[in-house]
């Protein structure tokens, strides 16, 4: 991850932590997604925001 990208990611996550609509679980999952080094896909983000608290029942 480039320096600039890292800076933006850090600032983004810090800002998102103050949002009531984003739970700590969502924030953590989003962080994992962004720092994984893989290309971020829309469906991955949708999964982060739609997975029930505690994870999906399987």
């Amino acid at each position: 991850m480039s320096t600039l990208q890292q800076q933006i990611t850090d600032k983004f996550l810090a800002s998102l932590a103050a949002e009531k609509s984003v739970t700590p679980e969502m924030l953590d999952a989003l962080k994992q997604l962004l720092v994984s080094g893989k290309k971020v896909k829309a469906d991955d983000i949708v999964a982060v925001f739609t997975t029930p608290s505690g994870g999906a029942v399987t």
């Binding site: 480039s2 600039l4 600032k11 983004f12 969502m26 290309k39 896909k41 983000i45 949708v46 925001f49």
Partner: protein
């Protein structure tokens, strides 16, 4: 990051076998055009990134590293084409090597293969912008703002950042779509429950009133509240829950379906018109349709992009970035078509929502038909429902919508011909049923009401979850945009300040008030520069091309400094310094030395004087100035150095290759004469084209040096310094003797100087020529630091004749 210690290059580009020592220092590589100096940049870039920028991008479609990276005689042996670099990693205090072969560009061999060392090389590989070529400079300056934005984005690696933003935006759209669908499903569930209960408004009070009428009839306690756990059929024995069929409710559902079907011709009419109009427009303009299909295809390609291989045709590109740029460029051309596509799909989405509502009503009617064992009606309803589901799926894509044209022209719902008949029969059959006993009616009412309440609760829960997910998606997208814009604004502010400062450093003599302004907008990056206090203008408006080139270098340096900070330890500048006009080169060297003391520059130039100026300015030393004096396809670049040139000439003579020796000597003499003319400020007969021959420069240099030694002797005498006077006189005498010795070969020299006939001489003829000139040039060179003598200061009255290490330092100012 890293600093280069040495490079070993074999069979790559124009190089056969070459070893270079960098020792972590800034290096200048001089060579005439076609001498192979850019091949060194290619080789270093290849070793570090696996790419060669010159072989990618515009105009290089049929050129690739795999096919054209190896030396032309080694094309079939890519395994023989490789580069090995030895580097120092200051942050780790480690030395490492990286070896990369053309046959395996993505599998470098790194030694030691420590995780931290590999991570450093991975980081560099992700930043090919360490190489800046002259052709790249104008990309920053003289381009349209949109293009400049792309170029700067490439340097800043904004692709990945943009990818994340796009993914968040797409996710936001998907979540919004899911919320809309969930809302529609919730409304349908609510309508179904409301219809069953036959209440005018959907409220707890009315609902409980309708329910309690039935409960009272069954002797059940009335419900006083409705919360998440309330069961409308609470207290009803299991044996009494046998059937959901409720005559009045079933009739109400069938009437609703009948009304809905009757209204179908008017439902979504505007949306159907929009879609049909768009389809007609596309059919009338095949180019637009083609562009639209391309948008769809290109978007698929961009979505699937993962690596340098095209996901659509498997073609291997130099890098994923190149491929992404290519797809984006093509997609941008179809933007008008994309706008049409957006309107078309939005209208299709509205039709799909209506189809979903109709499907919900069909499902309920299907259950009624099944409970009545009305197989024919149930089959028709199931078939219609399946058809609508397929139709709805078609409305989700461009190709699908185009395929619905004929259906939309008739009726999007495609009501089966027998529906009215079968529906009427089913309704009549139910109407003809004897009224249910009050008890059975109450039981089935409560059972059905509870089922529909459960459906409504589930739909509400899904809607609430979709709403929460949508809110999170919106918050995430907006937070990312804020973070991105905030960081980029700060970055551009910093860059414009440093860019202006760097430019002022170079052009301080005439543009002390230079300022610049970078203005980022959506997809654009405007650059305006101050022109002599007259206001801000585009760079190409009034500034000369030389100044614009200088701006390109300064903007690059400012971007790199801001982007990498202390990690900006290596930059490869391929013929870039030519962008700085001759009057400002020393300031440019000062800029690199003073503002980038931790950065190792590898600089190539085809201007030998410029290379020597870098040495005079202390940017490079005699040891870190590499000269390629010639190149052949068989040998690759021939390296020249003050110490090795004579060995090379001797070696050529030993092999009987007088032509090679003559060529090397002549190049060397031309360089030394030209450089010494500049160093000593010799008087030359002015030539408008600046094309000075050896016959113009060498005599003038010798004359000037004798004059300076004379001045030094006179100055020493005026100060009463007898030792210095004798030393200066001795030097003058030695110079005359060397010149005299060379005069022995005057016949050869005259021919050589004026007609370049050395190449036709025999070995015996040429040996004395070499010896005479070797001795002569030694009089102009310091035996300690190997630097050429020069006069200081560079302007005004000469004060001293000296070398870089001050072993030679002759005072020229008389008392």
């Amino acid at each position: 990051m890293i600093r280069l210690q040495s490079a070993h290059i074999e069979e790559l580009r124009g190089i056969r076998n070459l070893d270079l020592e960098f020792n972590g220092k800034t290096v200048a590589i001089w060579g005439p055009n076609g001498s192979g100096k850019s091949g060194v940049i290619d080789a270093i870039e290849f070793a570090l990134t696996g790419q060669i920028a010159r072989l990618t991008g515009r105009g290089t479609k049929s050129i690739s590293v795999a096919d054209h990276g190896p030396h032309v005689d080694a094309v079939k042996f890519p395994d023989a084409a490789f580069v090995e670099l030895t580097v120092v990693i200051p942050s780790l205090s480690k030395t490492a090597t990286i070896k990369r072969k053309v046959s395996a560009p993505n599998k470098p061999v790194i030694t030691p293969n420590d995780a931290d060392v590999v991570a450093v090389f991975d980081e560099i590989a992700a930043h090919p912008e360490i190489t800046l070529a002259r052709r790249d400079i104008l990309r920053f300056i003289l381009v349209e703002p949109t293009k400049r934005s792309e170029e700067v984005q490439a340097i800043l690696k904004l692709d990945d950042i943009g990818q994340t933003r796009t993914a968040l935006s797409s996710a936001q759209n998907k979540l919004r779509g899911a919320l809309k669908t969930a809302g529609s499903a919730m409304k349908d569930a609510r309508d179904t429950l409301q219809r069953h209960c036959q209440i005018a408004t959907f409220g707890v009070s009315e609902l409980l009133t309708a329910v309690n009428v039935r409960r009272e009839r069954l002797g059940l306690a009335p419900l006083t509240k409705l919360d998440a756990d309330t069961a409308l059929d609470e207290g009803l024995a299991a044996s009494d829950k046998g059937g959901e069929f409720n005559k009045s409710s079933a009739l109400a559902d069938l009437v609703t379906l009948q009304d809905s079907v009757a209204a179908l011709p008017e439902v979504a009419k505007e949306s159907v018109d929009v879609v049909l109009k768009a389809i007609a427009q596309l059919e009338g303009d095949p180019a637009l349709l083609l562009a639209l299909q391309r948008v769809s295809l290109l978007q698929k390609g961009l979505d699937l992009l993962n690596g340098a291989e095209c996901p659509l045709c498997d073609h291997a590109w130099a890098s994923e970035s190149d491929l992404r740029d290519h797809l984006r460029e093509k997609k941008a051309k179809s933007d008008a078509a994309a706008t049409l596509q957006s309107a078309l799909l939005a209208a299709a989405g509205t039709i799909a929502t209506h189809a979903e509502t109709l499907m919900g009503q069909l499902r309920i009617a299907y259950r009624i038909a099944q409970s009545r064992n009305d197989t024919e009606f149930a089959t028709l309803l199931a078939s219609w429902g399946t058809d609508l589901r397929t139709f709805k799926a078609q409305l989700g894509s461009l190709d699908g919508v185009l395929g619905t044209k004929h259906r939309l022209q008739q009726s999007w719902a495609a009501q089966p011909k027998t529906f009215d008949t079968l529906h009427a029969a089913a309704r009549a059959a139910i109407e003809n049923l004897p009224d249910q006993s009050a008890t059975v009616e109450a039981q089935s009412f409560l059972v059905t009401a509870q089922t529909r309440l459960a459906d409504f609760r589930a739909a509400s829960a899904k809607h609430a979850a979709a709403d929460a997910a949508n809110a999170a998606g919106v918050a995430a997208y907006e937070a990312y945009c804020r973070a991105m814009e905030g960081e980029l604004d700060a970055l551009y502010t910093d860059v414009q300040a440093e860019f202006s400062e760097f430019y002022r450093l170079i052009n301080g003599d005439d543009e002390t008030d230079f300022t610049a302004k970078l203005t980022p907008e959506e997809g654009k990056l405007d650059l305006a520069v101050n022109f002599y206090g007259r206001g801000l203008f585009p760079p190409g408006a009034y500034h000369s091309e030389g100044h614009q080139d200088g701006m390109g270098v300064c903007l690059y340096l400012a971007l790199m400094k801001r982007l990498f900070g202390s990690a900006f330890t290596l930059a490869l500048l391929d013929d870039v310094v030519m962008s700085v006009d001759s009057g400002h080169r020393y300031q440019f060297c000062k800029l690199l030395k003073e503002r980038f003391p931790e950065t190792q520059f590898v600089i190539t130039t085809h201007d030998r004087l410029w290379a020597e100026q870098m040495r005079s300015a202390g940017l490079v030393t005699g040891k870190s100035l590499v000269a390629f004096y010639s190149w052949t396809v068989d040998t690759g670049p021939l390296v020249e150095s003050n110490t090795e040139i004579w060995a090379d000439i001797d070696a050529a003579l030993a092999k009987g290759k007088v032509d090679n020796a003559a060529s090397a000597l002549r190049h060397h003499l031309e360089f030394v004469s030209r450089h010494m003319a500049d160093n000593l400020r010799a008087s030359l007969v002015f030539k408008g084209d600046g094309n000075y021959e050896l016959g113009d420069t060498l005599p003038a240099v010798l004359s000037r040096l004798k004059e300076l030694y004379g001045k030094a002797a006179a100055a020493a005498q005026s100060w009463g310094d007898e030792g210095a006077q004798q030393a200066a006189s001795a030097r003058k005498k030695q110079l005359s003797e060397s010149n005299g010795a060379s005069n022995v070969e005057q016949w050869a020299i005259n021919k050589a100087v004026h007609y370049n006939e050395w190449a036709n001489f025999g070995k015996t003829d040429f040996i004395p020529v070499v010896a005479a000139f070797k001795d002569l040039l030694a009089r102009m060179n310091c035996s300690t630091c190997s630097a050429w003598l020069y006069v200081t200061p560079r302007g005004g009255s000469p004060e001293a004749l000296r070398c870089s290490c001050a072993s030679n330092n002759l005072n020229l100012k008389a008392k």
